[in-house]
Amino acid sequence: MQGLSLNTRAAIMSVLLLVGGLLVWELSIPAQQTVGELTEYERLTGGGEARAGVPPPSQVIVKAWEELSNPFYDAGPNDKGIGIQIGYSIYRVLTGYALAALIAIPLGFLIGMSPVAYRALNPFIQVLRPISPLAWMPLALFIIQDSEASAIFVIFICSIWPMLLNTAFGVAGVRSDWVNVAKTHELGPLKTAFTVILPAAAPTIVTGMRISIGIAWLVIVAAEMLVGGTGIGYYVWNEWNNLDLTSVIFSILMIGVVGMLLDTMFGLLQRRVAYVE
């Protein structure tokens, strides 16, 4: 162990933890099923019928293999491949998120540049920000009258705040020296915004974007459970109603993986725009 690099040692440890965890899980399942012999009463009331139990990991892996080998099949409204369900979720997240970015970043610029705008808008932001995005759902469904658009709206409203606040914060914090460089080179306001303020504030802005995408992915699952129809959130709920816990566990894992991928993308972007003073 001594000679191995830190990364290798960490990787070995991760694998060991995974294998160990799965093993404990696998071994604990039969034990659970034999817990308590069926009583007379249960036998009489049909309690002995096949009950939904927590599946062992082996079953989940088999399920994952099945689903992932054909992710895009479509066999009617209640039976779509995991790829299609995730695709719907990502589409909703990205649409709502893009709309939020389109508004939050320019507005954040304005707020960051102008103390008046900051003070004028701050009370609204402070009241609207802590509202759970799902609380908007009934209102959205009533006004928009469309479940698809309502889900996108909920994503929009939850991802706008971190981006707005971080953009404003980043823009307000741009060193006045750099702005003075732009001024002494007679750059116009638009040119200054794009060539000096945007790159200077980019690390803070992208951090806000990264937080937003994380929140959006958390919220989409809940939103889709509510609006139904399609999406990974609906899928989880549907499989729960079918008492198919194997599918539930599998989709939970997929939610985690996709969330991680989205976060990694923004992590890379963050590294691209980072600079050392």
């Binding site: 001024k183 007679e186 050392v276």
Partner: protein, 300 residues
């Protein structure tokens, strides 16, 4: 006839944070000729940077104004290049891009290749060549960053170059090299330089004229000392010039004692002009006194 740069009755007051006012300087009046290298010396906090910011057009004075080349200074301009005290390079751009940033602003009609070529030429002048110019400022030494900043300002051929303690953060050796480079570049141009420094030897080496400021508040540009040492000057040779120590002692005297004695009160007059001062030990004794600017005794 007005000088190239004319500072007229410049007054700057700031709120002092206790409801009152702090007058940094009042009715400061002086001129700078075209092509002249003027250095301003004064204690910390006397208002040098404040004057510089007004000259750059980055700050508005409370009263008075600045006229350059017959035009009033209103806001920043590419005709006034600034080397800021802390370099002010844009850290997300490479060294080269920091200079092309300025060149492209000055010559929007140039092609990309032209802009790059011009920038590379000026980086070369300050001794930055090869791989270095593709590094980020954070990967450069303090002295290199300073040179990038100087290259950026010089590449734009501003009519007036404003330098705010440009070598403040450098060690003595690097400082010497960059001073020489600055003189070399300036020597080949018609540029006017206005520079702030704390360093007396640096001031004597570089300046045609040194403006001396008294302490604030109500600071005054009290004296204008001509540096009567011929150019080209080199660090090692100027110390042997008969005028060197005479001038140096005068400056030390001023900063050490008189800047305090003269400080702190209104002068009553409505234009505070610096008193011209010429110290020349080499002047032939028979030269008629009247042809020389007013001369004052120097304590040795």
């Amino acid at each position: 006839m007005k000088p190239f740069l004319s500072i007229e009755k410049l007054t700057q007051r700031f709120p002092d944070g206790k409801g009152g006012e702090l007058t940094v300087f009042e009715d400061a009046t002086f001129g700078v000729e075209k092509g002249e290298f003027v250095v301003i010396l004064g204690h910390s906090g006397c208002g040098k940077s404040t004057i510089m910011n007004i000259l750059a057009g980055l700050a508005d004075p409370t009263g008075g104004g600045v006229i350059m080349d017959g035009q009033e200074v209103k806001g920043p301009s590419l005709d006034r290049g600034v080397v800021f005290q802390n370099y002010s390079l844009l850290p997300w751009l490479s060294t080269l891009k920091n200079v092309t940033f300025g060149v492209a602003a000055r010559h929007p009609e140039w092609s990309k290749a032209q802009v790059t070529e011009h920038a590379v030429k000026y980086l070369g002048m300050v001794g930055l060549e090869g791989d270095v110019i593709h590094r980020k400022p954070s990967q450069l030494s303090g002295g290199m960053r300073q040179r990038v900043s100087i290259a950026r300002a010089f590449a734009n051929h501003p009519k007036l170059l404003l330098l705010d303690e440009p070598f403040g953060a450098l060690d003595a050796l690097t400082r010497g090299t960059i001073q020489d480079e600055l003189l070399k570049i300036w020597g080949g141009t018609e540029q006017t330089v206005f520079m702030i420094t704390h360093d007396i030897d640096e001031a004597i080496l570089l300046a045609d004229r040194i403006l001396l400021m008294t302490n604030g508040p109500f600071a005054r540009v009290a004296e204008s000392v001509e540096i009567t040492i011929p150019r080209p000057r080199s660090r090692t040779e100027i110390v042997e010039h008969p005028n060197y120590y005479a001038i140096r002692n005068h400056l030390v005297q001023f900063l050490g004692r008189r800047s305090k004695e003269m400080a702190g009160s209104r002068t009553g007059t409505d234009t505070n002009r610096p008193e011209p001062m010429r110290i020349d030990r080499t002047a032939p004794a028979d030269e008629p006194e009247s042809r020389r600017p007013p001369l004052r005794a120097v304590n040795d």
